[in-house]
């Protein structure tokens, strides 16, 4: 475990020293504050559109951070040859992979915590109302979402040749699932036949990432979710994380390092 945590620490340090997260946070804050300064019929208490803009930006940033951070881990180690002195230690490839996963996930979680603090401040300033438990639930689900995406990206990074391919393909898959995943079954029923069967198989096979997107509940101040729902989502997410990491490990352990 200490080896995994050591690798995790290096990944987190890398994220802290790269400028990506700060740039994204700055842009999110800038756009949110600009839109918040727009005069909308002289009413300074209109909050929900701002919450939506802020949360949408946070989601976009989280997808970017999760995918770009995870996509470059293994390829960068190979390209810079830092994988050799690492694996020359009593470290297995599984430990490297797990360390990278935990590091990327922790990095995402830390960034998200920052983003959500900003979101809390913005929404609280407008609504004068802090449903902290609801926000915490949303943050928890968002972190779980990032976990699944990071695991999927790590799998992609050991399958595809270049980080850019991984980023593109995983990005398209993730956005596709978020936008269309919920509707695949409906479309499958309408289409029918072989295509319908394929769509249905896809529907049941893909991780339902849209479950973790509870923006509408937060924006429109719906009551908090039942904790059993979140626990179920956590288990579901953990299952997919395990699946992707095992697949990544099976590929990585046979991979030539040069």
């Amino acid at each position: 475990m200490h080896i995994i945590l050591a690798v995790t620490g290096v990944v987190i340090l890398e994220m802290i020293r790269r400028k990506d997260v700060y740039v994204l946070l700055f842009l999110t804050a800038l756009i949110t504050l600009l839109l918040g300064s727009v005069n909308l019929f002289g009413d300074a208490n209109i909050a929900r559109y701002l919450k939506e803009v802020c949360l949408t930006l946070i989601w976009i940033c989280s997808v970017v951070i999760a995918i770009t951070t995870a996509a470059r881990q293994i390829p960068a180690e190979k390209e810079s040859r830092t994988i050799f002195p690492l694996l020359a230690k009593p470290v297995t490839r599984a430990q490297v992979l797990l360390g990278k996963f935990l590091g990327c996930w922790a990095a995402c979680a830390l960034s998200l915590a920052l983003f959500y603090v900003f979101f809390c401040l913005v929404s609280g300033a407008r609504e004068h109302h802090w449903p902290l438990v609801n926000y915490f639930q949303a943050l928890l689900l968002h972190i779980l979402f990032c976990g699944v995406v990071v695991a999927l990206t790590l799998l992609g990074s050991v399958v595809f040749a270049a980080p850019s391919s991984t980023v593109t393909i995983v990005g398209v898959v993730v956005m596709g699932i978020l936008l269309l995943g919920r509707h695949l079954h409906k479309v499958a029923l309408k289409v029918g036949g072989l295509a319908g069967g394929f769509l249905d198989t896809l529907y049941y096979s893909i991780p339902n990432l849209e479950w973790y997107d509870v923006r509408d509940l937060i924006i429109h101040n719906w009551p908090r979710m039942d904790w059993t729902v979140i626990a179920t989502d956590a288990l579901y997410g953990a299952a997919f994380i395990g699946l992707f990491l095992v697949a990544a490990w099976m590929r990585f352990r046979r991979m030539a390092l040069n």
């Binding site: 509870v214 509940l217 429109h220 719906w222 009551p223």
Partner: protein, 313 residues
């Protein structure tokens, strides 16, 4: 001293001072911009349609965004419980926020609570716990129980109007909800903005009249509604009878009739009701109202004029 030599010395001195280079270049670009500015302004004046940055950026595609934002306002009206393009949209063909505002006739059919359909499988069942799944309207039964949150739809209507100033419904719906949330002055300003982009729009004039009515300015309300009626006639007379906007006509005429009834102008009230009569597919109610007015009773609320959004205190 030789001129070429002094020039060479000057150039050499210049080469040694890069700051001076920058200052000279800046001066040159600034001067050129000043010279070009009048020509650019003249060009833009000739092509004023393209002066708006959003038009330049998005072109006609801005109407798509405007439509999206208009729908977004209705999504907000429902606190997020809204069909996507892949769901059954029969119960949401007409925006409920417009329906409730009384600015348009409804084309909605089907059950507005059941557009998601029955639960199909365990994924669907579990998924529905992650997004709004109860039909509500803002203000009436908001999920957080707070009142006067109808204003949350206004930003999207504002953005929609910026992108497509020629969509009249945006102004009328927004004005209604602004009046509902106490923004009477803002409602009127917004309607006037809409009128600048859509001169003589009877819909906007009707809403403007309602603003004046709320402000207890009956004379002006009358004038505006009569103007709206004239513009309606000019616009609709060219259309076949079955395509004319009877909904707006009904609203205009009944509001005029009620205004005259309150002012004690029975003849004028009867005049407007008689103009309304042929426009109604089921005129029985109007005949009843005519009889009541003829009997000396005031004209009460009707389906076309259920009440006022909110009078100014």
């Amino acid at each position: 001293m030789n001129t070429p030599d002094s020039l060479k010395e000057a150039l050499a001195a210049l080469a040694r001072r890069p700051g001076l280079h920058l200052a000279l270049l800046f001066g040159l670009t600034f001067g050129l911009a000043k010279i070009q500015h009048p020509r650019k302004a003249a060009f833009q004046a000739r092509n004023s349609r393209h002066d708006d940055p959003l038009s330049s950026l998005l072109g006609d595609g801005r109407k798509l965004f405007a439509n999206h934002f208009y729908t977004k306002a209705d999504v907000y009206f429902h606190s997020g419980f809204y069909p996507t393009i892949l769901d059954n949209q029969e119960s949401h063909r007409t925006a409920h926020m417009a329906e409730d505002a009384g600015v348009t006739s409804s084309k909605n059919t089907g059950d507005e609570e059941q557009f998601l359909g029955p639960v199909r499988n365990w994924i669907d069942a579990h998924g529905r716990k992650h997004f709004p799944s109860v039909h509500t309207h803002l203000g009436q039964d908001s999920p957080d129980g707070r009142k006067s949150v109808e204003r949350e739809i206004l930003p999207w209507l504002r953005f929609s109007s910026k992108l497509d100033p020629n969509r009249v419904e945006t102004y009328t719906v927004a004005a209604y909800w602004l009046r509902r949330t106490g923004g009477h002055v803002e409602a009127e300003q917004f309607l006037r903005e809409g009128l600048r982009a859509n001169p003589d729009s009877p819909e906007i004039l009707f809403e403007l009249g309602r603003c004046r009515e709320d402000a207890s300015d009956s004379d002006r309300a009358r004038n505006i509604w009569e103007l709206a009626w004239r513009h309606w006639q000019e616009r609709e007379s060219a259309k076949p009878v079955e395509e004319r906007d009877r909904f707006l006509a009904s609203q205009l005429l009944i509001h005029l009739a009620r205004l005259e009834s309150r002012a004690g102008h029975r003849d004028r009230c009867l005049h407007w009701l008689s103009v309304l009569l042929p426009l109604k597919p089921n005129p029985e109610e109007i005949r009843k109202r005519i009889a009541e007015v003829q009997a000396g009773l005031p004209l009460g609320d009707t389906d076309d004029a259920p009440g006022q959004a909110g009078k100014i205190p």
